[in-house]
């Protein structure tokens, strides 16, 4: 077992275990922390794939930003000490079955498929290249998605403010 494989096994185990804990833990704050672990492990995977930039984004935006956001909203809406009720057996079984069926279906499909890599030499992935192609409007340029995502973010920002703002006519 090479170091790579070992690393992958560790990250894989972490991801799966903490994922399951995230969706089953009965304390909401713990769920959030478990989610954080999952996201950090994912960032580790990205490092393994040699995508440092993505891993950094993952850590800052996901692990840093979103999880903090979620934790804030938990603090706003829940009691920390509160424990969730146990989920109904029927619901668990059916959801579990659906999930397991999905996993089996996907994995069997993955195993049946042959993936073919291109023969072209790999490209160097550095910040400069990413930055250039992000603002490039020629071939292999991504300026359009970039602009779209900017507008989306702006819209989301405004929407979040508008929605969360206390309305005049809101009554329970």
């Amino acid at each position: 077992m090479t170091g790579n494989q070992l690393m992958f096994a560790i990250f894989g185990m972490l991801i799966i275990i903490f994922s399951i804990l995230t969706v089953t833990s009965r304390r909401i704050l713990r769920s959030a922390v478990f989610l954080l672990f999952v996201l950090v492990s994912t960032a580790g995977l990205y490092f393994m794939l040699n995508y440092q930039f993505l891993a950094a984004v993952q850590l800052t935006v996901y692990a840093g930003g979103i999880v903090v956001l979620i934790i804030f909203s938990i603090l706003l809406t829940s009691h920390i000490s509160e424990k969730f009720e146990v989920v109904g057996m029927k619901k668990q079984i059916f959801s579990g079955l659906a999930a397991i069926a999905g996993i089996i279906l996907t994995i069997s499909t993955i195993l049946q498929t042959e993936f073919k890599a291109t023969e072209v030499a790999a490209k160097e992935v550095d910040m400069e290249a990413i930055g250039l192609s992000l603002l490039n409007y020629g071939e292999n340029g991504f300026v359009l998605p970039f602009e779209v995502i900017s507008i989306l973010l702006l819209a989301a920002m405004i929407a979040a403010i508008v929605i969360a703002k206390k309305g005049k006519t809101q009554k329970p």
Partner: protein, 105 residues
């Protein structure tokens, strides 16, 4: 290259994560935990994109950019979702998804 780790491993890992997220989405009652499940799902997809990019088309950027955009969308989505959740909380004083069932019949 990541010799010794076949592409399939990444994919299997991602799909397990995906369906764990789905499971969470289906079983959790708290809206915020549901949101967390969604984050899991998005994350698993992200892993797929990057793995494909790395293994199949190392000469291109598409996968990475998709990953980036998904992260951005996830951020936007989380922001809006949390705004909505807070609003719902104000309205119903609960964020239990089973109690928020006005949209029926």
């Amino acid at each position: 290259m990541n010799t010794g780790i076949p592409l399939e491993y990444f994919l299997i890992l991602a799909s397990v994560m995906f369906f764990v997220g789905i499971y969470g989405f289906l079983t959790r009652r708290n809206l915020i935990t549901i949101l967390m499940s969604v984050e899991l799902v998005l994350n698993s997809v992200n892993i797929n994109f990057l793995a494909f990019n790395k293994y199949l088309f190392p000469d291109q950027f598409q996968g990475q950019f998709f990953g980036l955009i998904i992260i951005a969308v996830a951020a936007a989505e989380a922001a809006v979702a949390i705004a909505i959740i807070i609003n719902i909380y104000r309205h119903f004083t609960t964020i239990n998804v089973e109690d928020v069932d006005q949209m029926k019949f």
